[in-house]
Symmetry: C2
Subunit: 454 residues, 2 copies
């Protein structure tokens, strides 16, 4: 199957067929589509059109499509359905982790209602268990479905049990080995199963070097571990080491992408997670806070200028370079903080202490500050007649770049130490503080230099 390409013509064609209630033509048109593609189609349809298609799909596909939908659309869809339909047609056909994610989006009362309509008590119990975990932890990412065998089983017992367990699972990556108390001992790779003779015991062939996490480990740490060790699935244990679930790589890919996008958005001054397709109102709510902070910063900067009214009044040319100095402070701070935030987020082990990092940034700051202040000094010397201005620009460019580098490095490290996500600091806070500090340094230095020379 080739990768499906959604077009406007396809949607127009589909909506016409829905209006004509031509079920057989619709089935033909949508045959062989992947649930992820159907979810994309759904996003382009009205609620009624989507419902029409939904109730033509088999249960498994319908459940998969629901999982793939964007949260807003899923919520709209579920709100329009009775609890027993949600339970029987959707939740009952999902993996436990997806079921818990979907249910977690409903309010508590509705969750209970839906769960009460699930006939199989163990399925309902699994979902209820998962709902108890924070969604940003290993417990919130894991699914209950996994294949486990006991260490003292022989391979034939093992294979029989695996066949039975495999019926309920989409894909099998690892077979987990536990002892009689359910404590995780290791893994049995499927390759080993293919290659080994039938008369050996599990305990003789399993691999005890298994990497696992406890249920309360942070989602970002989970993604760093799976990335570092190139894992496709990661077993999750409770506090005494009993195997309670497994996390698969596809869930972690979403975590990695979202974390990276979030850091980028925060650095760009966007405080809520928004998609291009969200409403104008959602975008405004996400963008306005930083713009207000930036505006407050600009107003503060105007006060700083007001404090140096005499200088600007006598030498208006001093004011021409205020935007340059303020912007350079912001730019330099942004660069320094981006590097620190990324290095903290990647979880890369790094024995450089914070002091060493600051020392290195100090070297970098001195180098950049020297280059930039020399250039602005040379420019001003050639094109401005006012020597006091040239000296002021040179000294203050050096000070601003130097200060902004160190500040941009120090603040994220400090926030990290205080257990605050350092990404919140990169955009708004550092740029604004550096803008103001830049104005202050420039005008104070100018005041002294002009007093002496002009």
């Amino acid at each position: 199957m080739l990768n499906f390409e959604l077009t406007r013509e396809y949607i127009d064609n589909l909506t016409e067929l829905i209006e004509a209630k031509n079920e057989s033509a619709i089935s033909e048109l949508m045959e062989e589509l992947h649930p992820a593609d159907i979810a994309e189609i759904y996003e382009e349809l009205s609620l009624d059109e989507a419902k029409f298609i939904y109730f033509m799909m088999d249960d498994d596909t319908a459940a998969d499509v629901l999982t793939e939908l964007e949260e807003n659309d899923r919520k709209k869809f579920l709100d329009s359905l009775p609890s027993d339909v949600i339970a029987k047609r959707f939740i009952d056909n999902m993996d436990s982790d997806d079921a818990a994610d979907v249910l977690g989006e409903l309010d508590d009362e509705r969750q209970q209602e839906v769960l009460s309509h699930i006939d199989d008590v163990s399925t309902a119990g699994d979902i209820a268990d998962l709902l108890a975990y924070d969604e940003d932890t290993a417990g919130g990412l894991m699914a209950k479905e996994l294949i486990k065998v006991k260490e003292n089983w022989g391979v034939p017992t093992c294979l029989r049990s695996m066949r039975r367990q495999a019926e309920e699972i989409d894909e099998v990556y690892y077979v987990y080995v536990v002892d009689s108390d359910g404590i995780l001992k290791g893994t049995l790779s499927l390759k080993k199963m293919l290659l080994s003779a039938s008369d050996v015991l599990v305990k003789d062939i399993y691999n005890s070097d298994v990497i696992s996490v406890k249920v309360d480990v942070d989602a970002e740490d989970v993604s760093n571990i799976m990335d570092k060790y190139d894992l496709v699935a990661l077993p999750v244990t409770d506090s005494i080491g009993r195997l309670v679930g497994r996390i698969t790589i596809d869930d972690v890919v979403d975590v990695i992408r979202e974390e990276a996008e979030k850091d980028y958005q925060l650095a760009s001054g966007i405080v809520e997670d928004v998609e291009a397709s969200d409403s104008v109102w959602q975008h405004t709510r996400a963008r306005i806070p930083w713009l207000l902070i930036g505006m407050a910063g600009g107003i503060l900067a105007s006060w700083v200028a007001f404090g140096h009214l005499d200088l600007i009044d006598k030498f208006p040319i001093v004011s021409f370079f205020m935007p340059l100095i303020a912007a350079m402070g912001g730019n330099v701070g942004m660069q320094s903080s981006a590097i620190v935030v990324q290095s903290l987020a990647s979880g890369a082990v790094d024995l450089e202490t914070n002091w060493l990092k600051l020392l290195k940034e100090l070297g970098l700051a001195l180098l950049n500050a020297s280059i930039l202040s020399t250039l602005i000094f040379a420019y001003s010397y050639l094109f401005n007649d006012e020597m006091a201005l040239t000296i002021t620009l040179g000294i203050s460019m050096f000070s601003v770049v130097f200060f902004a580098s160190l500040f941009g490095t120090f603040v994220p490290l400090l926030l990290n130490k205080l257990k605050i996500d350092p990404a919140v600091a990169t955009g708004p806070f550092i740029t604004t503080v550096n803008d103001i500090m830049g104005m202050f340094l420039y005008l104070s230095i100018g005041n002294e230099v002009f007093k002496m020379l002009a």
Copy 2:
């Protein structure tokens, strides 16, 4: 095994043992460590210390550790070794994709030398094939190792062949089905193998709904496809559909992380891919270009101010708000472009046309511009006596926010249309242009308003 935590004490202890050449104590200390952990340890050692440890490791582990090293460290290490050692001890023990990646970092002559020392012609041939692909394509990501069966085989033939093939592969996720010409027909899931009887033919049980990519597909598209369809492995075909390799999710996780980090760094004005641990000189080279562009922008802005010398000379207070207006242009442009860049990078299908996106951004621009200009107008009305300034601030804030929003949306869309990576535009270009445009709008509007009112 618990997650290994690298400490300064561990390294100190290890270097002492290396100095004492105490091999048995070192083996004990490093026993059961994952190659990814050993790679982290290596980064903290000198070249000679690292070599000492390297030649104590078994061939498979040594090869895995080499793959996990950072590029710079790997290069230093390989440069110090003769070609036959690289071939026999490292390349020969790697998966073909890792071998090609490592060899691709050496110069052409060295590549040929190393390849000539690999005894198995088919292994050397596989690597040479992979070296021919651009590293940012499906061909550059794929490995040659995979398990394939013919569609007209019976299950017993199949199992025999799979056992033989599986010996050379770390993990088996899918078994691929091909016809007698080697054309990819579908997959046989391992779960199906566990569940099916032994007298059926492959063609009766395989799944023909297989998603595949051609060798020349862009790496970013590969990662979007694997993410969207939640795939653990993706088969790669040549131009006529013959199966030539497979891409595994762990390689794609790296692509996703790197793409997201690159966009973030570009937006922060960092033009080369740098890590916190890189040298001061590498960081300077990555950061200086944007700082120079920003400085040029600031100088241009000072010219704009110089063109309005009369106004600033008569009313110095006008200059106090120049940094505010310039900064707001930069901030708004940064936000708008970040959203567009992310939405383009995620490859999310989106039937909103570019015109529709611009229209939506128009609404957003109008809303933000109204809110911010009202606020600055109110502030200035309350705290400044000069009515002409208050009106100038209100009108120019509206114009700047409005212009910067549209510009920040339009430029990335245009670049994308021209097949240029829109991420290059977010930081440097848009912020600088908006800074200058902001100054120009503010001072031009001020000129007119003050002429009329003051």
